[in-house]
Symmetry: C3
Subunit: 435 residues, 3 copies
């Protein structure tokens, strides 16, 4: 995967005005369908009940601005779609500067940032602007125009199923409801798209992949309400993919359960991918669709691998979350971490040594002929691996026990399997002495 | 509960000369019966066998002193009942200063303190005095008088049963066998009395409360020997109440098991009541009636919440353990900690969310209308609470998981129950998706 | 056991040229059989298959040297048997100094040490010498002679069975395949021999002791291949005995399982024998016969108690591993640690108090009559012990819980048993109240 592709997609999608519903979401999904032709775009009518929630009406925005008495647009939705509070109701009126104040949102601590504000479930309107601009708006009368509709329509989401050898599934979920912001959220859809492309091209997939692009919260609730039976039966692991595009750090957020296969894999990958230099959050720090996927009784095995986590980086939910934050290398690092996580899930297997006591490796040429520090470490890793291949542990468990990257051990495993010294199995079959 | 009441009771009881048996115990129990008219005072004859022990004869002391050749009482039981070794045998003789030495007890490191010494099971006599006084006793002859009896009589204890909705019991045990000392022991009986008054006045009690005032060790052994079957069947939690009246710190001593409901409750209450500023002792630090209540095979779920623990504060078992040590605020803090512990036990319950995925709180007005730091924390606590209400966890377990005080969450729980979003149950009923 | 005996045996055995097979091993075993007449010496023909391995041909060395043009032996096997690479093939040739270089082994970092090098499974030859000597060997022609055979013969090992009251066994294994080195390996066989003598003389042994002297790796694999059924059925604990003779530290290496009885015993003994001053290695640091005894499916409960561990002290596998390293006191300390470990295994038993609540110790004279700091600690240890004698815990578990040495508690246990206060049992029989 060329990281420039991901970066280019993110740039293309950046200026689309996404929200929970509406044209922005559809444009985004159609753009992705162009890359992933098998992507299936669904629509759910407004008013549909999903568990405790109801699909809201569809919001359409055509224009929005604050103009001064001379007709100059001093705040203009066309220059940045963050300027309008999401789901604002329509308005067309004249206000004095003082009256306008209560409808303005800015961040005194980040005076150059336009904040991202929405009001999905309470009817109101407002404008967001930098604090500098707010302070510099002179007294006078202003013409306020927000040209929006909120009418019965649909909520859209998209789904791609990549069948594997088994019906057991890995769920990859990302969201497409935020306007012009790069780490939260465009990094999520573009890395997910790249993963989908990579998965499509694999010669062999053990698991079936269910890849969904949804609006956050209402989207995952709607998706769960339609698919919970199948998801509960089939999903063995999965990731919520968000905030995966900057260069600053890696982050892990656990599932509610905390020790699902997804959690074990995420921790292993981040430990070795980052040389143990990543941030480990708790369930109490959650804030995205794991809230639904891991809710009581839903309890899908969904963990989260991120770069800088939502809510934890200064540009979060502002206009500063742009391509100074998200970079090709940031996206690439996130993509590789998630790809490795999927590879671990695909390749994880129970291992059993086929002989009692240590095997005689010398007679098989399995000792490196040239002795060196590196080869010594490889032999040690091989012997440690073998010492735990008792049929009751998976390669992932062994990798954790002997503190070696799964992907390095995988190479050794294949060599030992080729020599008939290891047996693989999808179920535990403990090694036992004859007795 | 007005803490001044507790303080006043302790002052009233201070000068009574309590011991394992005898009039001092009876006077103390009658004083308490005046406050708690339903208190039942029991007597057990000397010689009664209780497990490995036998109820000792009853000890009566009428007078005791050391007088100089002029008849001046230089050490006088009437001025401080700690001056006589508990259970001293009678004596009336003249001794030289040097001969007297072997019968004197003092503390060189605490020269102003009269130590507390007893000899319940070995016949001997002695006097306790300050080290200063001991050093200043001049040569000469002294008249030694101890006017005591040790004769078959009774051992007294008292019991109050407050019936609740279930026969399951909470045991509160305290002891009444120490003479004039305030933290160890009067803080125990007066805080227990205050708890009994509070419990009596409650509109509703889920559990039955068994409140006992006993002599330490022999009293709890006698009580167990008479009630062990019932206690084993019915007691679900309880506390040994001692050393609960000073202002210096809070302390926790576990049950032998270490993880009974009482232990979980004690740790939770102390953690949040003291902002995690309390001393955590181990079973190996035990020294009071938990030794019997938690003995092998007895194993009642009894933990201990204290302020400064016996054996750990400088005034312990000396005349300095007085009302400079024990204060109204010290008693009140201890009372509140124990009351909270009982409230947690009464209100602890399994909780299950009634919807799949997160509930839509906005439509129910469960989000605070005014946004602030405090309201944000409340929303977070509510969402964290909900995220663990899977029917398999009690409110106490959830409070520990999300690191919030039980009593704060209780308020949120009632709100959510009122909205039909939570179900309470006395047994675990895990939330499951339909499948 | 007089430590001078062990030291003398080690000195006697030091100059014998042991290898995997051959006369050196036989001489060593015959020397030990002189001390332990019941020792049974076994032989296994070359070519015998043992699991994945085959017993190698027997190696005989008669002479080996490098001589200069004048016939002076500049490197001579007769002065130190480490000078020849173990299992060297025969050679008789003249080489230039430069040609000789590739056959020489020395340690630049330890220029005064002759390294220990073997090539059991690949045919080659070589000489080992100090780095100083290597650098000082002048140009010129050298006469190289290695007079060896590698022919079908036998592999030898020895076994001593000391029957106990039960057929359950404790396995003690040590190896006898290293030439002139003292800590690794002679400390192992001599301490094992001393333990065997001590065990022989015991009036009573609960367990049967299986004591084996084998060549490392191939020997334990051969031994396992012949005895695995019986070992799996009968061995309840055991130790691999190696590197047990220097004064520098104590070390523990776990079994693969990590929490077998042997592990618990080893940790307890080292903790208290060394006042918690010992090195704790992991299974990943293994390197001796535990690799076979604890292999997947073999899984015998074998742990290792050492002094300075193989691979971890500077003289390891060089001529410097001599009697500057191994001392009488070093051997004695190791012997005592292992003897204590065996005593713990022999004496470990479930304990149950025979009364409810604490027993009345005073009436039985079980309180020390003279009160002192030491006696106070003894009473506390006794009361702590009693508090855990609930029939569900062994003395070893209790000793760990109350942080007292097993051997100190054993004395108290016998006193309490004599007073009828404790019952011993080989199985768990939990104390329960009557109900």
């Amino acid at each position: 995967m060329n990281p420039d592709n991901m970066f280019e997609w993110a740039n293309d999608l950046f200026y689309i005005n996404r929200s929970l519903t509406g044209d922005g979401v559809r444009k985004t999904l159609l753009y992705l369908k162009n890359i992933l032709p098998d992507l299936l775009i669904h629509e759910v009518p407004s008013g549909t009940v999903a568990f405790d929630w109801t699909v809201p009406d569809e919001w359409t925005i055509r224009d929005a601005y604050i103009a001064d008495e001379d007709g100059n647009r001093v705040v203009d939705f066309r220059t940045n779609n963050l300027h309008v509070v999401g789901y604002s109701e329509p308005v067309d009126c004249w206000l004095e500067r003082d009256e306008l104040e209560q409808y303005l949102h800015s961040l005194p601590d980040q005076p150059e940032a336009i904040p991202y504000v929405t009001s999905y479930y309470k009817r109101q309107w407002g404008f967001c602007l930098t604090h500098h601009q707010r302070l510099s708006l002179p007294q006078g009368r202003y013409h306020i125009v927000i040209d929006t509709d909120l009418k019965p329509g649909v909520l859209n989401y998209a789904e791609l199923i990549l069948h594997g050898e088994t019906q057991k599934e890995v769920l990859l979920s990302t969201y497409i409801c935020h306007p012009s912001m790069a780490n939260n959220e465009l990094s999520g859809p573009v890395v997910t798209t790249a993963l989908a492309l990579w998965l499509q091209r694999l010669e062999r997939r053990l698991y079936t992949y269910r890849i969904v692009f949804i609006p956050e919260t209402i989207g995952s609730i709607v998706y769960l309400s339609k698919n919970i039976d199948q998801l509960k039966r089939q999903v063995i692991a999965g990731f919520n993919i968000t905030c995966i595009g900057d260069d600053r750090c890696y982050s892990y957020l656990p599932s509610r359960n905390g020790s699902t296969l997804s959690d074990q894999v995420a921790l292993h990958v981040l430990l070795h991918h980052t040389d143990n230099n990543f941030k480990c959050y708790s369930w109490l720090d959650r804030g995205s669709d794991e809230r639904q996927y891991c809710a009581p009784g839903v309890d899908l095995p969904i963990a989260t691998i991120m770069r800088s986590k939502y809510g934890e980086y200064p540009e979060y939910h502002t206009s500063l979350d742009n391509f100074d934050v998200v970079t090709p290398s940031g996206l690439e690092g996130g993509f590789i971490a998630l790809r490795r996580a999927i590879e671990v899930i695909e390749q994880n297997i129970y291992l059993k040594i086929t002989v009692f006591c240590e095997p005689q490796l010398g007679k098989r040429g399995l000792y490196p002929s040239l002795s060196s520090k590196v080869s010594g470490e490889q032999v040690r890793a091989m012997m440690n691996l073998i010492s735990f291949c008792d049929g009751s542990r998976t390669l992932l468990e062994i990798a954790d026990l002997i503190e070696e990257p799964f992907w390095d051990l995988k190479i050794i495993v294949e060599k030992l399997v080729a020599h008939g010294l290891l047996e693989k199995s999808h179920i535990a079959t403990p090694q036992t002495a004859y007795l």
